[in-house]
Amino acid sequence: MSRSAVRDALRGLLLFLVLASTFFLLIGRDPVSMFGAILTAAAGSGYAVGESLVRATPILLCALATLVPARLGLISVGAEGQLYAGAIAGTGVMIAWAGPPPLLLPAVVLGGMAGGALWALLPALLRNAAGVNETISTLMLNFVAALAVTWLVYGAWKNPQSQGWPATVEFPDIARLPTLGDSRVHAGLLIALAAAVLLAWLLGRTRWGLGLDVLCSNPRLDSVTSLSLARQVLLTMAVGGTLAGLAGIAEASVVQGRLQSDLAQGAGLSGFLVAWLAGNRVGRTVWIALGVGALLASGDGLQMSERVPSSVTLVVQGLLFVAALGAAAHRDRGTRHV
């Protein structure tokens, strides 16, 4: 990391500690013990580590889903909607599957990826065809997708056995991604990490990645390089959508076991800010996503040990991003990956 980047990070960390401590004091808690409790709840035991990884996985996938279009200069916040779309598609495959059982899992996973990719292509097409700003269109589509899930679990896909809580039937074991030992850590994490490695190579060491950098730096150069901006918009959004869709179907099939409302738990928004803070660099994205996932996962443990509502971790997450944004001054507008 360059000297100025290290300075920015330290300044951000300091500001975060100040802001978070102030918040803890305001709610009548000792900051030191709160930070300690968060760390313990996040990583204090094998179980805690497992839960942190589980929470981090969709955040990482959504961060990568934001990062790939961002390399082209697109500011897409649509990972959450793509996550839901993937969950819907994969669940649909599970419910309607009539093929041979061994193929159910790959079909569900591929269906999830396809659903996410298609949902991502929508704002991409709108941008190409009508110049629609992708930040706003993806935000709106997020809500449409979330509402679609609610519609399905209250209606056509409602599990007659789940009384008060509307949800679909549970995913059968053969449709679930394999997990690690006793924890809920699932293969989705491995796929995410493998995708990160692959993307790092593609973006940094191939002509495709260079082309994205060129178009991002100056979209008018498409004629010089004979690249098509429109085609890359579609491609990068689709790649992102695939990853977010995977997050969705993983959450539905393995982590939560069924499709239900608020499946995403804010992973899309967290993922966006993780990618932003990482400067759209893959390596940093992984670390920051793991950290944020750990923070959010500590909420339940925190509730038990410190008797504060788990939403405290949501506030702390918000303060983290505010601090990081505030400390890194002099950034140019739009996306950049320095």
């Binding site: 060491r205 191939t206 990645g209 730096s217 150069l221 004629s223 390089t225 004979s226 320095v338």
Partner: protein, 506 residues
């Protein structure tokens, strides 16, 4: 108002923009402040206007020393400045802009109040023909300047500074501007005219001050100095001589044929550029020259017609444009149009052959290969890993030239290539560009500098409102004739009287 600037100094970071500058501005006089780009003229005047604060020196107004710490203060003192980029707000109406400019007043403006009617009347008196309700964006360039001057008159400015006002005006509009400036001076206003064109000086200046490298190197009466002395002060040495084009290419075969091309505003453009010929293209901005250049470059689809290079079809409607190694393109504003600012010099140099790069790209290798090319084209600083955005305008253009011209293309399209560059950088770009012509390349050169066109081009085509209205032999025409064709003043009469040395169509 009598102003005296003494010993003014200002530095920005490591750059000393103004050093120990003395300047006297007298009422009722037009002082022309000359200098190359970067000489410090604008900075000095911005110090007077309170945009910046001087590090050293003093400003005395009517004998009293003043500290001008903001434009508000300057305006209150009666100093007004018309910037190169108009500070009128395009989306608001003329009336709204003037209300804003007049500063304090009642909180309620309304629509039809008495104060507004009084304002409208004064506007009509000073600038007849300008509609107060019209949005500033709809005004022509000379109307814009008129409103800027009205703004200053309304504020009863006693000292008016104009920063390069004639930069984009046609000769006739420039005439009107100069008479306005003389009228201002006749009213007792102290006028400062910042420019780098000697024609402005000869037209209306009483005194001349020249700046070079941040210092005021001369302050004399306009009648006391001839052009060569002034240029000598500006440049500090004899201006670098660029070889004028040699040979008459009239007999050579055409290499670049723009065949009945229509794109955007430009309609039915038919031009041929021969081997080793420099064909200049002049016209008021917005007349279609830029679109034409973009279409030939492949940055814009052609609506109709064809572009043929060395007998092969290069551009046609509905045909996907692909970069050709036989055509070099040097656009205006390289940072905006030709360069990826965030990427390194080495990568930028490789962009022309992007399609031929292997799938696995080693950016460090690209940077190593670039070093030689950077040396050859004198790009400074010659660090292949530095981001392109860190280069100055002149070096950016040299970088683009290095990329486009290093493979000895068959033809080159240069679109305002020296815009914003100082004399030295301009000379370097011309040297490269016209040197190629000497080797047989066909050069299509779009420029707004009529003097340069007349000096270096073989033939000059003039565009007006999207059409080529005249093609003239550069050696046998003048700036005024070009200007007349550029503004449509010379019409079909001139076209019908085509002589043997003038061609309408190549």
């Amino acid at each position: 108002m009598h102003l005296l600037l003494s010993g003014i100094g200002k530095r920005f970071g490591a750059v000393q923009a103004v050093v120990d500058a003395d300047l006297e501005i007298r009422p009722g006089e037009v002082l022309s402040l000359l200098g190359e780009n970067g000489a410090g003229k604008s900075t000095l005047m911005k110090l007077l206007y309170g945009v910046h604060r001087p590090d050293a020196g003093s400003i005395t107004i009517d004998g009293r020393p003043m500290s001008i710490d903001s434009p508000r203060t300057a305006v209150a003192l009666g100093i007004g400045m018309v910037f190169q980029q108009s500070t009128l707000i395009p989306a608001l109406s003329v009336r709204e802009n003037l209300v804003l400019a007049l500063g304090e007043g009642r909180w309620w403006i309304g629509r039809r109040g008495q104060a507004l009617r009084a304002l409208d009347e004064r506007l009509q008196a000073l600038a007849p023909g300008v509609d107060p309700e019209a949005a500033v964006a709809e005004l022509s360039l000379s109307q814009l300047q008129l409103v800027e001057l009205v703004k200053l008159r309304l504020r009863a400015a006693r000292c008016v500074v104009l920063d390069e006002p004639s930069a984009a005006l046609a000769p006739a509009e420039a005439q009107r501007l100069w008479s306005l400036i003389r009228a201002l001076a006749a009213d007792g206003v102290a006028v400062v005219l910042i420019t780098h064109k000697l024609a402005d000086v000869r037209a209306c200046a009483d005194r001349v001050a020249v700046m070079r490298a941040g210092r005021v190197v001369a302050q004399v009466g306009a009648a006391d100095a001839d052009d060569d002395r002034i240029v000598g002060w500006m440049v500090g040495e004899a201006p670098p001589a660029v070889r004028a084009p040699s040979g008459s290419p009239a007999s050579r075969p055409p290499r670049l044929w723009i065949k009945d091309v229509s794109v955007g505003v430009a309609r039915g453009i038919d031009l041929q550029v021969r081997a080793g010929e420099i064909l200049g293209l002049a016209g008021i901005s917005g007349g279609g020259q830029a679109e034409l250049a973009e279409a030939i470059a492949g940055a814009r689809p052609i609506d109709a017609g064809e572009v043929i290079l060395d007998g092969e079809l290069l551009r046609a409607p509905r045909r996907a444009p692909s970069p050709s190694s036989r055509l070099g393109v040097i656009p205006a504003e390289p940072l905006r149009n030709a360069v990826a600012p965030a990427l390194s010099l080495g990568v930028n140099l490789a962009l022309r052959r992007f399609g031929e790069l292997p799938f696995r790209v080693d950016r460090a290798a690209l940077e190593r290969q670039a070093a030689q090319l950077l040396e050859r084209f004198a790009v400074r600083p010659a660090d292949p890993a530095a981001p392109a955005g860190s280069l100055s305008g002149g070096n950016l253009q040299k970088l683009v030239a290095a990329r486009e011209l290093s493979q000895r293309p068959a033809a080159v399209v240069a679109c305002y290539p020296t815009m914003g560059l100082d004399v030295t950088a301009t000379a370097q770009v011309y040297e490269t560009l016209f040197g190629l012509a000497g080797d047989g390349t066909a050069v299509l050169w779009i420029s707004e500098d009529l003097d340069d066109l007349l000096h270096y081009a073989h033939r000059i085509a003039v565009m007006f409102e999207g059409r080529v209205v005249r093609v003239l032999d550069a050696a046998q025409t003048t700036a005024f004739e070009l200007g007349a064709w550029m503004t449509g003043l010379a019409g079909p009469v001139g076209r019908a009287a085509a002589g043997s040395s003038d061609e309408v169509f190549a």
